[in-house]
């Protein structure tokens, strides 16, 4: 609205000029020629159509959801397998050998990622370095398979001159070792890997653990000759020669084995490092495969507000304790019409009804009714009703939250929060907060409605409505009521009712014993009346309503010095810039001689009308009549003799009434 042209004294148009522009016929022509309201417009303004469409849509959606839920349950296992592409275990072995164990819980990506070739290459290299490629070296192993087992090389050294029986023995030992390693995946320590550590462990939440350990890698990295080479050892003639030479080479082989063990150990460590890197690639692969299922879920937990996943609709789900339920581990992807969680459940959304024994957690929005024995948590928006034994939480709330202890909303609340202890809203509130202890709104936006707290209400924004609490109400701007023992507001345009009312700027009505306002009314009076000649008072509050605290003295009366303490309330009415009137009610406690003599009743109650004249800025003069009613014990003397009525009920207390006067100066 920056382009504004101001025009003063616009040319007035007379009736004739205006009437000259009238042309109903052209209007009718345009009306007839104008296209009729579109079908869409007419339909959206037709109630019958809207209701019917709504009902039909509900039926169709329910039917589709029912179909989907049963269909999905049947296909769930296959979906899971497809999602992670679980490999055939038989395909996983690194080297095609009898003695080689498999990556039982790993996947075929290792095989295809070049790990197999690398391991074979390393094996070949080690064979050469170890010096065991000669026939004699191999024969030495045939004689003492137990040592081979001890050294962890049971699956090796079958090159030439090995007899079939010996080969079987070697294979048997190899299988045993492989079996042992497989059973004690993490705990087993062998010569190749004296300090096995988990090099990469991917344990995804609620997912079958996929573990790749260095130990298992070591098992699969076993130095193993190929099958073709092994076949060469079956030559019987060579076997005989080998048997003869075994004894001679036994000592030599021990030494060499020791060297080889050391070399192989170093190599395995090196290979393990390489495989660790590759396993990281594998981790990424798995994340890709699991995309949208669990990999993103961690992200979603942190940033549910940006959760962009599209939910699939289900008619119903039942779960015991997440993920044990009809939607299983995928329940975060589904929005259910009916959701029943025996203990706790985690669902993508609820469009209908959710009941949980303990905890209901909804990843996105909840539309409808949610009842949780302990807690309801909605990471998205909640539209409807949340009933929680302890806590209800939602990103924003349209409807009602009723929690045994706490209700929280990170966004706006349109509706009601009823909490046993505390209600908390981070954004605007249109409705009511009712808390056993406190209601808190920390937004600078406005609250339109009511806050009722057992102890306190706090609103850092604008309060359009009422705050009612037992101890204290605090609000930034108040357009409405604050009712509590202590009310505090920055700018108050409404009413504060409490023992102590504090405001920075008071434009409303503070009703209380003490009402303090920095920019409100503060006046000091010096005045005299018919029963107390020298008095001073302070008026605090606002023009509409102020408190009066007075003290007065009448020295040397017929009965001695008379001291008076008064408290009253009043209203200041500006009749013009110069004239005003105060209407006040005050009550005085009257004491003779002893300043603090409180025995017996001696009270004067006043209704006074005090018209005044503003002499100058800060100084006003007022004078007016008052109607006084004195309640006095017989032991005291009345403050007046001009009684217009005098009553005595027969006890020790009498009531006197008379017309009095007041005159004074008002400062500030």
């Amino acid at each position: 609205m920056k382009k504004i042209k101001f025009k003063f004294h616009q040319k007035p148009l007379n009736e004739t000029q205006i009437n000259s522009f009238k042309n109903f016929d052209s209007l009718m022509t345009a009306f007839v020629a104008a296209p009729k309201p579109s079908l869409q417009y007419r339909l959206t303004h037709n109630r019958f159509f809207i209701y019917t469409t709504g009902i039909m849509s509900g039926i169709i959606l329910t039917t589709i959801a029912t179909f989907l839920i049963f269909n999905t349950e049947n296909n769930q296992v296959s979906q899971f397998q497809n999602a992670i592409n679980l490999p055939n275990i038989s395909e996983v072995s690194v080297v095609n050998s009898n003695s080689v164990s498999s990556f039982s819980d790993s996947n075929s990506e290792f095989k295809s990622s070049g790990t197999e070739k690398k391991l074979q290459k390393e094996n070949s290299s080690l064979e050469k370095k170890s010096g065991l490629e000669s026939e004699s070296d191999m024969d030495s192993f045939k004689k003492n398979p137990e040592k081979k087992k001890t050294n962890g090389l049971s699956k090796s050294f079958s090159k030439e001159n090995l007899i079939g029986k010996q080969k079987e023995e070697i294979s048997t030992v190899g299988n045993e070792i492989a079996s042992e390693k497989s059973e004690s995946n993490f705990e087993h320590t062998n010569q190749f890997n004296p300090q096995p550590t988990i090099t990469e462990s991917l344990i995804l939440d609620d997912y079958p653990a996929v573990i790749i350990s260095q130990d298992s890698i070591a098992t699969n990295c076993t130095w193993t000759p190929s099958e073709s080479i092994t076949q060469d050892f079956l030559n019987k003639e060579q076997n005989k020669q080998m048997e003869e030479s075994i004894g001679q080479l036994e000592d030599t082989s021990k030494k060499k084995l020791s060297e080889v063990t050391s070399q192989v150990e170093n190599k395995v460590v090196e290979i393990s490092k390489n495989i660790t890197d590759e396993s990281k690639d594998s981790y990424q692969w798995m994340r890709t495969k699991l995309n949208g299922v669990f990999a993103n879920r961690f992200h979603d937990k942190r940033q549910s507000g940006n959760d962009t996943i599209t939910l699939q609709n289900h008619a119903a789900q039942v779960s015991f304790l997440y993920p044990v339920g009809s939607n299983g581990i995928f329940s975060g992807k589904y929005s259910n019409v009916f959701s029943f969680n025996i203990l706790s459940g985690y669902n993508g959304g609820v469009n209908g009804f959710e009941l949980g024994g303990l905890v209901n957690i909804v990843r996105k929005n909840m539309n409808g009714l949610q009842i949780g024995g302990l807690t309801n948590v909605v990471f998205g928006n909640a539209n409807g009703l949340q009933l929680g034994g302890l806590v209800n939480h939602a990103r924003s709330m349209n409807g009602a939250q009723i929690g045994g202890l706490v209700n929280t909303s990170l966004g706006s609340v349109k509706g009601t929060q009823i909490g046993g202890l505390v209600n908390y809203a981070l954004d605007s509130i249109n409705g009511a907060q009712i808390g056993g202890i406190a209601n808190v709104s920390t937004t600078s936006h406005s609250i339109n409605g009511i806050q009722i707290g057992g102890i306190a209400n706090l609103s850092l924004g604008k309060m359009n409505g009422s705050q009612i609490s037992g101890i204290v109400n605090v609000a930034n701007k108040v357009n409405g009521f604050q009712i509590s023992l202590i009310n505090i507001g920055e700018k108050v345009s409404g009413m504060q009712i409490g023992l102590i009312n504090i405001a920075d700027t008071m434009k409303g009505v503070p009703i209380g014993l003490i009402s303090i306002s920095r920019n409100g009314l503060f006046k000091v009076d010096l005045f005299s009346n018919d029963f107390s000649y020298i008095n001073t008072s302070v008026r605090l509050g606002s023009n509409a309503f102020y408190n009066i605290f007075s003290i007065g003295v009448s020295p040397n009366t017929q009965f001695g010095n008379r001291y008076s303490f008064g408290y009253g309330i009043g209203s200041h009415i500006s009749l013009s810039k110069k004239f005003f009137t105060n209407i006040e009610v005050a009550s005085w406690s009257v004491h003779y001689n002893k300043f603090a003599e409180w025995n017996g009743i001696n009270m004067i109650n006043q209704l006074r009308l005090l018209p005044g004249w503003q002499i100058a800025e800060g100084i006003g003069l007022y004078a007016g009549p008052s109607f006084n009613v004195e309640v006095i014990d017989d032991s005291f003397n009345s403050a007046s003799k001009a009684h217009v009525f005098k009553e005595h009920g027969g006890g020790t207390t009498g009531v006197n009434g008379w017309i009095g006067w007041t005159i004074g100066l008002q400062f500030f």
């Binding site: 609205m1 025009k7 522009f21 209007l27 303004h45």
Partner: protein
């Protein structure tokens, strides 16, 4: 602007036969025309615009129901929406027509003639108002509409209109002082 039984009958008749809309057209054309004219500051454009407003009213007459909103206020509401939409879409210069005495009333100035500097400051302060605020001030002070009438047109309660106008005035006066100091 209160609706009469006769007017209700006319409206019902016009719903059935558009020719009966003529009486309503004759009755409210001036109000609608002047409302638009004050904002467009062009007699002919205002006439065209007024025709559009009545055309729209005729097209939507069947959806008009007497729920306490007088027909005249309904027409002005349509005109207001159309004018605002027009200025939003075309980004054209909007005219605010007023008398100098109106400015005095708004700013609570006693001088019958604002000196040029203070008038400029006042206009600058008015320019800082948003569209809705300006319209409220315009209706109340420049067009001299009652609070009840303003409330009917803007679809709010009379009290709400009073409160809003009061707040706008407060802000306007503060802004005026700032602008006046700066000048």
């Amino acid at each position: 602007m209160a609706i009469t039984n006769n007017e209700s009958e006319l409206i019902e008749a016009a719903k059935k036969n558009p020719q009966h809309f003529r009486a309503l057209y004759e009755k409210y054309f001036k109000d609608v025309y002047l409302f638009i004219y004050r904002r467009l500051d062009d007699e002919h454009d205002a006439a065209d615009f007024a025709q559009q407003v009545f055309l729209k009213a005729m097209q939507h007459l069947k959806y008009y129901e007497d729920r306490g909103l007088p027909f005249g206020a309904w027409l002005i509401r349509i005109a207001s929406n159309e004018v605002n939409q027009y200025f939003r879409d075309r980004k054209k210069e909007r005219t605010v027509s007023m008398e100098l005495t109106d400015l005095n009333e708004i700013l609570d100035e006693n001088d019958s003639h604002l000196i040029q500097e203070r008038r400029e400051a006042a206009l600058k302060a008015i320019k800082k108002l948003n569209a809705e605020e300006l319209e409220l001030i315009e209706m109340r002070f420049f067009e001299k509409r009652s609070f009840a009438e303003v409330a009917e047109i803007k679809g709010m309660t009379e009290n709400n209109a009073k409160v809003k106008v009061h707040r706008i005035l407060e802000r306007l006066r503060k802004q005026f002082l700032i602008e006046a100091k700066a000048a």
